[in-house]
Symmetry: C2
DNA sequence: CCTGGCCATAACTATTCATTATGTCAGCTC
DNA sequence: GAGCTGACATAATGAATAGTTATGGCCAGG
Protein backbone atom coordinates (compact mmCIF):
# COMPACT_ATOMS: atom_id res chain seq x y z
CA UNK A 1 0.00 0.00 0.00
CA UNK A 2 1.48 3.25 -1.14
CA UNK A 3 2.26 5.89 1.42
CA UNK A 4 0.75 8.77 -0.53
CA UNK A 5 -1.94 9.15 -3.11
CA UNK A 6 -0.46 10.29 -6.40
CA UNK A 7 -2.02 13.49 -7.64
CA UNK A 8 -2.11 12.17 -11.21
CA UNK A 9 -4.37 9.34 -10.07
CA UNK A 10 -6.57 11.72 -8.11
CA UNK A 11 -6.87 13.93 -11.17
CA UNK A 12 -8.02 10.94 -13.19
CA UNK A 13 -10.45 9.94 -10.49
CA UNK A 14 -12.20 13.30 -10.18
CA UNK A 15 -12.36 13.58 -13.95
CA UNK A 16 -13.97 10.16 -14.21
CA UNK A 17 -16.50 11.14 -11.57
CA UNK A 18 -17.24 14.44 -13.23
CA UNK A 19 -17.65 12.88 -16.67
CA UNK A 20 -19.56 9.92 -15.33
CA UNK A 21 -17.61 7.53 -17.49
CA UNK A 22 -14.07 6.29 -17.87
CA UNK A 23 -14.08 6.68 -21.62
CA UNK A 24 -15.22 10.30 -21.57
CA UNK A 25 -12.68 11.13 -18.88
CA UNK A 26 -10.00 9.58 -21.06
CA UNK A 27 -10.76 11.83 -23.99
CA UNK A 28 -11.09 14.81 -21.65
CA UNK A 29 -7.60 14.16 -20.33
CA UNK A 30 -6.18 13.36 -23.75
CA UNK A 31 -5.56 9.68 -23.04
CA UNK A 32 -7.06 6.37 -24.00
CA UNK A 33 -9.69 4.45 -22.15
CA UNK A 34 -7.46 1.55 -21.00
CA UNK A 35 -4.97 4.03 -19.57
CA UNK A 36 -7.66 5.56 -17.39
CA UNK A 37 -9.03 2.15 -16.49
CA UNK A 38 -5.56 1.22 -15.29
CA UNK A 39 -5.14 4.39 -13.28
CA UNK A 40 -8.44 3.98 -11.51
CA UNK A 41 -7.50 0.41 -10.70
CA UNK A 42 -4.19 1.56 -9.31
CA UNK A 43 -5.88 4.15 -7.14
CA UNK A 44 -8.31 1.54 -5.89
CA UNK A 45 -5.46 -0.73 -4.91
CA UNK A 46 -3.77 2.16 -3.11
CA UNK A 47 -6.93 2.90 -1.14
CA UNK A 48 -7.68 -0.77 -0.69
CA UNK A 49 -11.33 -0.51 -1.63
CA UNK A 50 -13.21 -0.25 -4.94
CA UNK A 51 -14.10 3.33 -5.76
CA UNK A 52 -16.46 2.87 -8.70
CA UNK A 53 -19.37 0.68 -9.63
CA UNK A 54 -18.74 -0.26 -13.24
CA UNK A 55 -21.70 -0.80 -15.48
CA UNK A 56 -22.14 -1.05 -19.21
CA UNK A 57 -23.61 2.44 -19.19
CA UNK A 58 -20.87 4.18 -17.22
CA UNK A 59 -19.65 4.32 -13.66
CA UNK A 60 -21.06 5.50 -10.36
CA UNK A 61 -19.36 6.11 -7.04
CA UNK A 62 -19.17 3.49 -4.36
CA UNK A 63 -19.29 4.47 -0.73
CA UNK A 64 -15.50 4.57 -0.61
CA UNK A 65 -15.48 6.69 -3.74
CA UNK A 66 -17.81 9.24 -2.22
CA UNK A 67 -15.57 9.40 0.81
CA UNK A 68 -12.43 9.91 -1.24
CA UNK A 69 -13.83 12.54 -3.59
CA UNK A 70 -13.68 15.59 -1.30
CA UNK A 71 -10.13 14.76 -0.26
CA UNK A 72 -9.11 14.42 -3.89
CA UNK A 73 -10.67 17.74 -4.80
CA UNK A 74 -8.95 19.58 -2.00
CA UNK A 75 -5.59 18.03 -2.70
CA UNK A 76 -5.79 19.03 -6.34
CA UNK A 77 -6.93 22.51 -5.43
CA UNK A 78 -4.06 22.99 -3.00
CA UNK A 79 -1.60 21.63 -5.50
CA UNK A 80 -2.79 24.04 -8.15
CA UNK A 81 -2.62 26.93 -5.72
CA UNK A 82 0.92 26.01 -4.77
CA UNK A 83 1.87 26.10 -8.42
CA UNK A 84 0.47 29.53 -9.07
CA UNK A 85 0.10 31.81 -6.11
CA UNK A 86 2.73 30.03 -4.03
CA UNK A 87 2.86 32.16 -0.97
CA UNK A 88 3.10 35.53 -2.65
CA UNK A 89 1.40 36.90 0.45
CA UNK A 90 -1.62 38.30 -1.32
CA UNK A 91 -3.46 41.13 0.36
CA UNK A 92 -6.53 43.16 -0.36
CA UNK A 93 -10.19 42.40 -0.71
CA UNK A 94 -12.14 40.43 -3.26
CA UNK A 95 -15.89 40.03 -3.51
CA UNK A 96 -17.17 36.98 -5.36
CA UNK A 97 -20.71 36.52 -6.55
CA UNK A 98 -21.80 32.93 -7.03
CA UNK A 99 -24.83 31.26 -8.50
CA UNK A 100 -26.51 29.68 -5.52
CA UNK A 101 -26.07 26.21 -6.94
CA UNK A 102 -22.34 26.79 -6.95
CA UNK A 103 -22.20 28.27 -3.49
CA UNK A 104 -23.21 24.89 -2.13
CA UNK A 105 -20.50 22.95 -3.92
CA UNK A 106 -16.86 22.48 -3.09
CA UNK A 107 -16.07 25.86 -4.58
CA UNK A 108 -16.28 27.86 -1.36
CA UNK A 109 -13.98 25.28 0.17
CA UNK A 110 -11.31 26.17 -2.35
CA UNK A 111 -11.82 29.86 -1.68
CA UNK A 112 -11.50 29.23 2.04
CA UNK A 113 -8.23 27.40 1.45
CA UNK A 114 -6.99 30.35 -0.49
CA UNK A 115 -8.01 32.77 2.22
CA UNK A 116 -6.37 30.71 4.89
CA UNK A 117 -3.05 30.66 3.10
CA UNK A 118 -3.18 34.42 2.59
CA UNK A 119 -4.07 35.89 5.95
CA UNK A 120 -3.87 39.42 4.58
CA UNK A 121 -6.53 38.77 1.98
CA UNK A 122 -10.21 39.22 2.65
CA UNK A 123 -12.63 37.18 0.58
CA UNK A 124 -16.36 37.77 0.59
CA UNK A 125 -18.78 35.45 -1.12
CA UNK A 126 -22.21 36.67 -2.12
CA UNK A 127 -25.09 34.69 -3.49
CA UNK A 128 -28.29 36.50 -4.29
CA UNK A 129 -30.78 37.37 -7.00
CA UNK A 130 -29.55 38.49 -10.39
CA UNK A 131 -30.73 42.05 -9.83
CA UNK A 132 -28.96 42.37 -6.49
CA UNK A 133 -25.89 40.78 -8.01
CA UNK A 134 -25.76 43.29 -10.79
CA UNK A 135 -26.08 46.11 -8.31
CA UNK A 136 -23.23 44.75 -6.19
CA UNK A 137 -21.14 44.38 -9.31
CA UNK A 138 -21.85 47.91 -10.51
CA UNK A 139 -21.05 49.33 -7.10
CA UNK A 140 -17.77 47.45 -6.96
CA UNK A 141 -18.73 45.30 -4.00
CA UNK A 142 -18.05 42.16 -6.01
CA UNK A 143 -15.32 42.00 -8.61
CA UNK A 144 -16.01 38.49 -9.87
CA UNK A 145 -19.31 36.88 -10.73
CA UNK A 146 -19.69 33.24 -11.67
CA UNK A 147 -23.16 32.59 -13.01
CA UNK A 148 -25.10 31.44 -16.02
CA UNK A 149 -23.92 33.30 -19.07
CA UNK A 150 -27.20 35.11 -19.85
CA UNK A 151 -27.44 36.37 -16.27
CA UNK A 152 -23.94 37.78 -16.01
CA UNK A 153 -23.63 41.48 -15.20
CA UNK A 154 -20.82 41.87 -17.75
CA UNK A 155 -19.21 40.10 -20.67
CA UNK A 156 -17.92 36.61 -19.85
CA UNK A 157 -14.15 36.27 -19.70
CA UNK A 158 -14.46 32.53 -20.02
CA UNK A 159 -17.21 29.94 -19.91
CA UNK A 160 -17.66 26.32 -19.00
CA UNK A 161 -20.46 23.86 -19.71
CA UNK A 162 -21.90 21.71 -16.95
CA UNK A 163 -24.50 18.97 -17.26
CA UNK A 164 -27.73 18.96 -15.34
CA UNK A 165 -29.12 15.89 -13.63
CA UNK A 166 -32.53 14.88 -12.37
CA UNK A 167 -32.87 14.82 -8.61
CA UNK A 168 -35.51 12.30 -7.67
CA UNK A 169 -37.09 12.20 -4.24
CA UNK A 170 -37.87 9.02 -2.36
CA UNK A 171 -41.14 7.51 -3.49
CA UNK A 172 -41.62 9.76 -6.47
CA UNK A 173 -43.00 7.99 -9.51
CA UNK A 174 -40.97 9.22 -12.44
CA UNK A 175 -43.60 7.86 -14.79
CA UNK A 176 -46.45 9.87 -13.24
CA UNK A 177 -48.33 11.55 -16.03
CA UNK A 178 -48.34 15.11 -14.97
CA UNK A 179 -44.78 14.85 -13.67
CA UNK A 180 -44.43 16.70 -10.34
CA UNK A 181 -41.60 19.19 -10.76
CA UNK A 182 -39.80 21.25 -8.12
CA UNK A 183 -38.62 24.60 -9.44
CA UNK A 184 -36.68 27.67 -8.47
CA UNK A 185 -39.20 30.47 -8.27
CA UNK A 186 -36.93 33.33 -9.28
CA UNK A 187 -35.58 34.12 -12.71
CA UNK A 188 -33.52 30.97 -12.87
CA UNK A 189 -32.60 30.89 -16.49
CA UNK A 190 -32.41 27.17 -16.84
CA UNK A 191 -35.99 26.92 -15.64
CA UNK A 192 -37.26 27.45 -19.15
CA UNK A 193 -34.81 25.14 -20.83
CA UNK A 194 -35.69 22.35 -18.41
CA UNK A 195 -39.41 22.74 -19.07
CA UNK A 196 -38.75 22.86 -22.80
CA UNK A 197 -36.89 19.59 -22.66
CA UNK A 198 -39.89 18.03 -20.92
CA UNK A 199 -42.29 19.35 -23.50
CA UNK A 200 -40.20 18.32 -26.46
CA UNK A 201 -40.25 14.80 -24.96
CA UNK A 202 -44.06 15.06 -24.76
CA UNK A 203 -44.09 14.85 -21.01
CA UNK A 204 -46.82 16.72 -19.19
CA UNK A 205 -45.79 18.30 -15.91
CA UNK A 206 -47.09 20.29 -12.99
CA UNK A 207 -45.33 22.52 -10.50
CA UNK A 208 -45.34 20.60 -7.24
CA UNK A 209 -43.28 23.11 -5.31
CA UNK A 210 -41.40 26.33 -5.83
CA UNK A 211 -38.64 27.80 -3.72
CA UNK A 212 -36.21 30.62 -4.21
CA UNK A 213 -33.39 28.85 -2.43
CA UNK A 214 -31.42 25.71 -3.13
CA UNK A 215 -31.99 24.32 0.34
CA UNK A 216 -35.73 24.72 -0.23
CA UNK A 217 -35.60 22.84 -3.50
CA UNK A 218 -33.49 20.12 -1.95
CA UNK A 219 -35.83 19.78 1.00
CA UNK A 220 -38.81 19.47 -1.34
CA UNK A 221 -37.13 16.79 -3.39
CA UNK A 222 -35.99 14.98 -0.26
CA UNK A 223 -39.56 15.01 0.99
CA UNK A 224 -40.71 13.30 -2.17
CA UNK A 225 -42.65 16.22 -3.61
CA UNK A 226 -41.22 15.77 -7.08
CA UNK A 227 -38.18 15.91 -9.27
CA UNK A 228 -35.80 18.79 -9.93
CA UNK A 229 -33.01 19.56 -12.37
CA UNK A 230 -29.78 20.31 -10.50
CA UNK A 231 -26.05 20.31 -10.92
CA UNK A 232 -24.75 16.83 -10.10
CA UNK A 233 -22.63 18.23 -7.24
CA UNK A 234 -25.75 19.22 -5.37
CA UNK A 235 -27.47 15.86 -5.58
CA UNK A 236 -27.67 13.96 -2.34
CA UNK A 237 -26.79 10.28 -2.66
CA UNK A 238 -30.40 9.17 -2.23
CA UNK A 239 -31.49 11.39 -5.11
CA UNK A 240 -29.08 9.91 -7.59
CA UNK A 241 -30.72 9.55 -10.93
CA UNK A 242 -30.68 6.11 -12.45
CA UNK A 243 -29.58 6.94 -15.96
CA UNK A 244 -32.03 4.70 -17.67
CA UNK A 245 -34.94 6.63 -16.26
CA UNK A 246 -38.03 7.56 -18.10
CA UNK A 247 -37.09 11.22 -17.77
CA UNK A 248 -35.85 13.11 -20.81
CA UNK A 249 -32.21 14.07 -21.01
CA UNK A 250 -31.40 17.56 -19.81
CA UNK A 251 -29.54 20.32 -21.60
CA UNK A 252 -26.18 21.54 -20.37
CA UNK A 253 -25.93 24.89 -18.64
CA UNK A 254 -23.31 27.36 -19.66
CA UNK A 255 -21.59 29.10 -16.79
CA UNK A 256 -19.33 32.08 -17.25
CA UNK A 257 -17.25 34.52 -15.27
CA UNK A 258 -17.58 38.28 -15.40
CA UNK A 259 -14.86 40.46 -13.94
CA UNK A 260 -15.21 44.09 -13.09
CA UNK A 261 -12.99 46.14 -15.43
CA UNK A 262 -11.60 48.25 -12.61
CA UNK A 263 -10.16 45.14 -10.94
CA UNK A 264 -7.87 44.44 -13.88
CA UNK A 265 -4.34 43.67 -12.79
CA UNK A 266 -5.09 43.17 -9.09
CA UNK A 267 -3.00 40.14 -8.09
CA UNK A 268 -5.46 38.92 -5.45
CA UNK A 269 -8.33 39.02 -7.88
CA UNK A 270 -6.19 37.30 -10.49
CA UNK A 271 -5.58 34.54 -7.98
CA UNK A 272 -9.24 34.17 -7.08
CA UNK A 273 -10.20 34.13 -10.73
CA UNK A 274 -7.81 31.32 -11.54
CA UNK A 275 -8.97 29.46 -8.44
CA UNK A 276 -12.54 29.67 -9.72
CA UNK A 277 -11.48 28.66 -13.17
CA UNK A 278 -9.65 25.62 -11.94
CA UNK A 279 -12.86 24.26 -10.47
CA UNK A 280 -13.72 23.36 -14.08
CA UNK B 1 4.95 22.78 -16.60
CA UNK B 2 3.05 19.97 -14.99
CA UNK B 3 -0.53 20.52 -14.05
CA UNK B 4 -0.27 19.02 -10.59
CA UNK B 5 2.48 18.55 -8.08
CA UNK B 6 3.22 14.85 -7.59
CA UNK B 7 2.91 13.81 -3.98
CA UNK B 8 6.03 11.68 -4.27
CA UNK B 9 8.05 14.77 -5.11
CA UNK B 10 6.48 16.71 -2.27
CA UNK B 11 7.30 13.88 0.12
CA UNK B 12 10.91 14.02 -1.00
CA UNK B 13 10.97 17.78 -0.63
CA UNK B 14 9.66 17.91 2.92
CA UNK B 15 11.99 15.08 3.90
CA UNK B 16 14.96 16.94 2.48
CA UNK B 17 13.93 20.05 4.38
CA UNK B 18 13.41 18.14 7.59
CA UNK B 19 16.73 16.32 7.31
CA UNK B 20 18.57 19.39 6.12
CA UNK B 21 20.38 17.41 3.48
CA UNK B 22 19.59 15.51 0.33
CA UNK B 23 21.77 12.57 1.27
CA UNK B 24 20.18 12.08 4.67
CA UNK B 25 16.72 12.36 3.16
CA UNK B 26 17.70 9.72 0.63
CA UNK B 27 18.63 7.20 3.30
CA UNK B 28 15.55 8.15 5.31
CA UNK B 29 13.36 7.35 2.31
CA UNK B 30 15.30 4.25 1.37
CA UNK B 31 16.68 5.64 -1.86
CA UNK B 32 19.99 6.85 -3.18
CA UNK B 33 21.25 10.40 -3.18
CA UNK B 34 21.12 10.96 -6.96
CA UNK B 35 17.52 9.78 -7.02
CA UNK B 36 16.55 12.45 -4.50
CA UNK B 37 18.66 15.05 -6.26
CA UNK B 38 16.74 14.27 -9.42
CA UNK B 39 13.38 14.49 -7.69
CA UNK B 40 14.13 17.85 -6.16
CA UNK B 41 15.26 19.09 -9.53
CA UNK B 42 12.06 17.85 -11.10
CA UNK B 43 9.96 19.57 -8.47
CA UNK B 44 11.89 22.76 -9.04
CA UNK B 45 11.20 22.61 -12.74
CA UNK B 46 7.52 22.02 -12.04
CA UNK B 47 7.36 25.05 -9.77
CA UNK B 48 9.59 27.04 -12.08
CA UNK B 49 11.87 28.37 -9.36
CA UNK B 50 14.74 26.89 -7.33
CA UNK B 51 13.60 25.60 -3.96
CA UNK B 52 16.92 24.91 -2.24
CA UNK B 53 20.24 26.61 -1.80
CA UNK B 54 22.81 23.86 -2.24
CA UNK B 55 26.00 24.07 -0.29
CA UNK B 56 28.75 21.60 0.48
CA UNK B 57 27.39 21.31 3.99
CA UNK B 58 23.77 20.64 3.13
CA UNK B 59 20.80 22.54 1.79
CA UNK B 60 18.68 25.44 3.00
CA UNK B 61 15.37 26.74 1.74
CA UNK B 62 15.11 29.50 -0.80
CA UNK B 63 12.26 31.96 -0.66
CA UNK B 64 10.27 29.83 -3.08
CA UNK B 65 11.02 26.78 -0.97
CA UNK B 66 9.67 28.44 2.14
CA UNK B 67 6.55 29.34 0.25
CA UNK B 68 6.01 25.83 -1.04
CA UNK B 69 6.65 24.02 2.23
CA UNK B 70 3.31 24.64 3.95
CA UNK B 71 1.40 23.61 0.83
CA UNK B 72 3.44 20.44 0.60
CA UNK B 73 2.83 19.59 4.23
CA UNK B 74 -0.92 20.09 3.95
CA UNK B 75 -1.18 18.09 0.76
CA UNK B 76 0.68 15.19 2.31
CA UNK B 77 -1.39 15.39 5.44
CA UNK B 78 -4.65 15.34 3.47
CA UNK B 79 -3.42 12.47 1.37
CA UNK B 80 -2.54 10.44 4.44
CA UNK B 81 -5.92 11.23 5.98
CA UNK B 82 -7.68 10.14 2.83
CA UNK B 83 -5.88 6.83 3.01
CA UNK B 84 -6.85 6.12 6.57
CA UNK B 85 -9.92 7.84 7.90
CA UNK B 86 -11.46 8.43 4.50
CA UNK B 87 -14.73 10.05 5.35
CA UNK B 88 -15.86 7.70 8.06
CA UNK B 89 -17.82 10.64 9.45
CA UNK B 90 -16.15 10.69 12.80
CA UNK B 91 -18.01 12.23 15.70
CA UNK B 92 -17.30 12.91 19.32
CA UNK B 93 -14.82 15.03 21.17
CA UNK B 94 -11.07 14.82 21.52
CA UNK B 95 -8.80 16.97 23.68
CA UNK B 96 -5.17 17.18 22.66
CA UNK B 97 -2.41 18.50 24.85
CA UNK B 98 0.62 19.82 23.01
CA UNK B 99 4.04 20.97 24.02
CA UNK B 100 4.01 24.68 23.30
CA UNK B 101 6.78 24.34 20.75
CA UNK B 102 4.57 21.96 18.79
CA UNK B 103 1.46 24.08 19.08
CA UNK B 104 3.18 26.69 16.95
CA UNK B 105 4.12 24.33 14.15
CA UNK B 106 2.08 22.96 11.29
CA UNK B 107 0.56 20.37 13.59
CA UNK B 108 -2.56 22.34 14.53
CA UNK B 109 -3.08 22.92 10.83
CA UNK B 110 -3.34 19.17 10.29
CA UNK B 111 -5.75 18.90 13.20
CA UNK B 112 -7.84 21.71 11.73
CA UNK B 113 -7.98 19.88 8.41
CA UNK B 114 -9.17 16.79 10.21
CA UNK B 115 -11.83 18.73 12.08
CA UNK B 116 -13.06 20.39 8.94
CA UNK B 117 -13.52 17.10 7.14
CA UNK B 118 -15.42 15.68 10.10
CA UNK B 119 -17.99 18.32 11.00
CA UNK B 120 -19.38 16.14 13.77
CA UNK B 121 -16.06 15.96 15.57
CA UNK B 122 -14.94 18.50 18.10
CA UNK B 123 -11.22 18.96 18.61
CA UNK B 124 -9.73 20.98 21.43
CA UNK B 125 -6.07 21.78 21.64
CA UNK B 126 -4.51 22.68 24.97
CA UNK B 127 -1.03 23.92 25.64
CA UNK B 128 -0.04 24.66 29.20
CA UNK B 129 2.30 23.79 32.02
CA UNK B 130 3.10 20.21 32.79
CA UNK B 131 1.17 20.29 36.03
CA UNK B 132 -1.96 21.69 34.42
CA UNK B 133 -1.58 19.21 31.59
CA UNK B 134 -1.44 16.28 33.98
CA UNK B 135 -4.55 17.54 35.71
CA UNK B 136 -6.42 17.87 32.43
CA UNK B 137 -5.31 14.38 31.50
CA UNK B 138 -6.38 12.86 34.79
CA UNK B 139 -9.74 14.57 34.60
CA UNK B 140 -10.30 13.30 31.09
CA UNK B 141 -10.35 16.72 29.47
CA UNK B 142 -7.51 15.72 27.17
CA UNK B 143 -7.16 12.20 25.86
CA UNK B 144 -3.89 12.65 23.99
CA UNK B 145 -0.74 14.42 25.11
CA UNK B 146 2.25 14.98 22.86
CA UNK B 147 5.20 16.19 24.89
CA UNK B 148 8.71 15.38 25.91
CA UNK B 149 8.87 11.85 27.20
CA UNK B 150 9.88 12.65 30.81
CA UNK B 151 7.02 15.14 31.12
CA UNK B 152 4.24 12.88 29.84
CA UNK B 153 1.34 12.24 32.21
CA UNK B 154 1.29 8.56 31.25
CA UNK B 155 3.37 5.91 29.55
CA UNK B 156 4.36 6.78 25.97
CA UNK B 157 2.61 4.77 23.27
CA UNK B 158 5.26 5.80 20.79
CA UNK B 159 8.15 8.24 20.60
CA UNK B 160 9.99 10.26 18.02
CA UNK B 161 13.34 12.07 18.15
CA UNK B 162 13.65 15.62 16.91
CA UNK B 163 16.81 17.70 16.62
CA UNK B 164 17.23 21.05 18.27
CA UNK B 165 18.73 24.04 16.53
CA UNK B 166 20.27 27.28 17.69
CA UNK B 167 18.16 30.34 17.07
CA UNK B 168 20.43 33.33 16.68
CA UNK B 169 19.18 36.88 16.90
CA UNK B 170 20.32 39.67 14.62
CA UNK B 171 23.58 41.17 15.82
CA UNK B 172 24.27 38.54 18.43
CA UNK B 173 27.93 37.55 18.64
CA UNK B 174 27.98 33.78 18.90
CA UNK B 175 31.58 33.96 20.08
CA UNK B 176 30.82 36.21 23.05
CA UNK B 177 32.45 34.72 26.07
CA UNK B 178 29.62 34.51 28.46
CA UNK B 179 27.20 33.48 25.76
CA UNK B 180 23.84 35.26 26.19
CA UNK B 181 21.17 32.57 26.33
CA UNK B 182 17.39 32.92 26.14
CA UNK B 183 15.58 30.26 28.14
CA UNK B 184 12.14 28.97 28.94
CA UNK B 185 11.56 29.78 32.57
CA UNK B 186 9.28 26.89 33.46
CA UNK B 187 10.21 23.26 33.89
CA UNK B 188 11.24 22.83 30.30
CA UNK B 189 13.05 19.58 30.43
CA UNK B 190 15.45 20.28 27.63
CA UNK B 191 16.68 23.35 29.48
CA UNK B 192 19.15 21.27 31.44
CA UNK B 193 20.36 19.23 28.51
CA UNK B 194 21.02 22.39 26.52
CA UNK B 195 23.05 23.94 29.32
CA UNK B 196 24.94 20.70 29.78
CA UNK B 197 25.92 20.67 26.15
CA UNK B 198 27.29 24.19 26.53
CA UNK B 199 29.29 23.24 29.59
CA UNK B 200 30.70 20.08 28.12
CA UNK B 201 31.95 22.28 25.26
CA UNK B 202 33.57 24.58 27.83
CA UNK B 203 31.39 27.52 26.90
CA UNK B 204 30.48 29.94 29.63
CA UNK B 205 26.98 31.36 29.43
CA UNK B 206 24.61 33.77 31.12
CA UNK B 207 20.83 33.99 31.11
CA UNK B 208 20.01 37.01 29.00
CA UNK B 209 16.25 36.55 29.12
CA UNK B 210 13.68 34.13 30.42
CA UNK B 211 10.12 33.69 29.29
CA UNK B 212 7.48 31.07 29.92
CA UNK B 213 6.06 31.26 26.43
CA UNK B 214 7.42 30.49 23.02
CA UNK B 215 6.42 33.87 21.63
CA UNK B 216 8.38 35.51 24.42
CA UNK B 217 11.47 33.50 23.65
CA UNK B 218 11.14 34.21 19.95
CA UNK B 219 10.69 37.92 20.57
CA UNK B 220 13.79 38.00 22.73
CA UNK B 221 15.86 36.23 20.12
CA UNK B 222 14.46 38.44 17.39
CA UNK B 223 15.45 41.49 19.42
CA UNK B 224 19.02 40.26 19.55
CA UNK B 225 19.10 39.46 23.26
CA UNK B 226 20.80 36.13 22.77
CA UNK B 227 20.56 32.62 21.39
CA UNK B 228 18.03 29.90 22.15
CA UNK B 229 17.66 26.20 21.45
CA UNK B 230 14.45 25.50 19.56
CA UNK B 231 12.83 23.01 17.26
CA UNK B 232 13.79 23.88 13.68
CA UNK B 233 10.12 24.40 12.75
CA UNK B 234 9.93 27.35 15.07
CA UNK B 235 12.95 29.19 13.76
CA UNK B 236 12.21 32.30 11.81
CA UNK B 237 14.21 32.61 8.59
CA UNK B 238 16.42 35.37 9.97
CA UNK B 239 17.37 33.16 12.90
CA UNK B 240 18.61 30.29 10.82
CA UNK B 241 21.70 28.81 12.31
CA UNK B 242 24.70 28.55 10.07
CA UNK B 243 25.73 25.02 10.88
CA UNK B 244 29.39 25.73 11.08
CA UNK B 245 28.88 28.05 14.00
CA UNK B 246 30.99 28.24 17.04
CA UNK B 247 28.09 26.89 19.09
CA UNK B 248 28.21 23.32 20.32
CA UNK B 249 25.92 20.77 18.74
CA UNK B 250 22.66 20.20 20.55
CA UNK B 251 21.15 16.96 21.78
CA UNK B 252 17.98 15.58 20.25
CA UNK B 253 14.75 15.79 22.18
CA UNK B 254 12.56 12.76 22.54
CA UNK B 255 8.88 13.43 22.11
CA UNK B 256 6.23 10.89 22.98
CA UNK B 257 2.48 10.47 23.02
CA UNK B 258 0.43 9.47 26.03
CA UNK B 259 -3.15 8.35 25.58
CA UNK B 260 -5.72 8.14 28.28
CA UNK B 261 -6.62 4.45 28.87
CA UNK B 262 -10.35 5.18 28.93
CA UNK B 263 -10.18 6.49 25.36
CA UNK B 264 -9.04 3.12 24.01
CA UNK B 265 -10.99 2.11 20.95
CA UNK B 266 -12.61 5.47 20.26
CA UNK B 267 -12.40 5.89 16.46
CA UNK B 268 -12.07 9.68 16.57
CA UNK B 269 -9.22 9.50 19.02
CA UNK B 270 -7.60 6.77 16.95
CA UNK B 271 -7.76 9.12 13.99
CA UNK B 272 -6.30 12.06 15.86
CA UNK B 273 -3.55 9.87 17.23
CA UNK B 274 -2.49 8.68 13.79
CA UNK B 275 -2.70 12.24 12.51
CA UNK B 276 -0.29 13.31 15.23
CA UNK B 277 1.95 10.37 14.54
CA UNK B 278 2.16 11.13 10.85
CA UNK B 279 3.63 14.53 11.60
CA UNK B 280 6.87 12.60 12.26
C1' DC C 1 47.87 18.99 1.32
C1' DC C 2 45.02 15.45 2.02
C1' DT C 3 40.48 13.65 3.56
C1' DG C 4 35.58 13.41 4.14
C1' DG C 5 31.00 14.98 3.49
C1' DC C 6 27.91 16.76 0.21
C1' DC C 7 25.91 17.64 -4.23
C1' DA C 8 25.87 17.30 -9.56
C1' DT C 9 26.30 14.72 -13.72
C1' DA C 10 26.48 10.81 -16.84
C1' DA C 11 25.53 6.26 -18.41
C1' DC C 12 22.99 2.28 -17.74
C1' DT C 13 19.09 -0.55 -16.34
C1' DA C 14 14.67 -1.74 -14.78
C1' DT C 15 10.34 -0.45 -14.16
C1' DT C 16 6.28 1.95 -15.31
C1' DC C 17 2.93 3.70 -18.20
C1' DA C 18 0.29 4.36 -22.37
C1' DT C 19 -1.03 2.45 -26.60
C1' DT C 20 -3.11 -0.99 -29.84
C1' DA C 21 -5.86 -4.95 -30.18
C1' DT C 22 -9.19 -7.93 -28.45
C1' DG C 23 -12.79 -9.89 -25.28
C1' DT C 24 -17.12 -9.58 -22.46
C1' DC C 25 -21.37 -7.84 -21.08
C1' DA C 26 -25.80 -5.36 -21.15
C1' DG C 27 -29.21 -2.91 -23.46
C1' DC C 28 -31.50 -1.56 -27.93
C1' DT C 29 -33.27 -1.94 -32.53
C1' DC C 30 -35.48 -4.33 -35.93
C1' DG D 1 -33.95 -13.18 -30.81
C1' DA D 2 -30.01 -11.79 -33.93
C1' DG D 3 -27.13 -8.25 -34.45
C1' DC D 4 -25.55 -3.65 -33.21
C1' DT D 5 -23.76 -0.23 -30.07
C1' DG D 6 -21.42 1.66 -26.18
C1' DA D 7 -18.93 0.76 -22.04
C1' DC D 8 -15.31 -1.52 -19.34
C1' DA D 9 -11.62 -5.28 -18.76
C1' DT D 10 -7.51 -7.69 -20.19
C1' DA D 11 -3.20 -8.77 -22.69
C1' DA D 12 0.89 -7.68 -25.06
C1' DT D 13 4.02 -4.45 -26.99
C1' DG D 14 6.93 -0.30 -27.06
C1' DA D 15 8.43 4.09 -25.29
C1' DA D 16 9.23 7.11 -21.58
C1' DT D 17 10.49 7.35 -16.75
C1' DA D 18 12.86 6.82 -12.57
C1' DG D 19 16.24 4.51 -10.01
C1' DT D 20 21.06 2.75 -9.52
C1' DT D 21 26.15 2.76 -9.91
C1' DA D 22 30.13 5.42 -10.91
C1' DT D 23 32.49 9.59 -11.10
C1' DG D 24 33.78 14.47 -10.53
C1' DG D 25 33.83 19.10 -8.20
C1' DC D 26 33.60 21.82 -4.16
C1' DC D 27 34.47 23.36 0.45
C1' DA D 28 35.92 22.66 5.41
C1' DG D 29 38.84 20.60 8.85
C1' DG D 30 42.93 18.22 10.29
Amino acid sequence: MARDLETALLRSFVTVVREGSISRAATALGHTQPALSQQVRKLESAVGRPLLHRSPSGVTLTRAGEELLPYAQRILSLSAQALTEAGRALTGRCGVGLLEDLAASQLPQALADLARLHPGARLEVLSCSNAAMREAYDEGRVQLVLDEVPDLPGPPRWTVRRPLAWAIGQGVDVAADPLPVVLFSGACSWRTSVLESLESADRRWRVAFESNSLVGVLAAVRAGLGVAALLPTNLEPAMTCHDTDALPSLPDVELGLARHPRSEGDPLIDAVETALRRMN
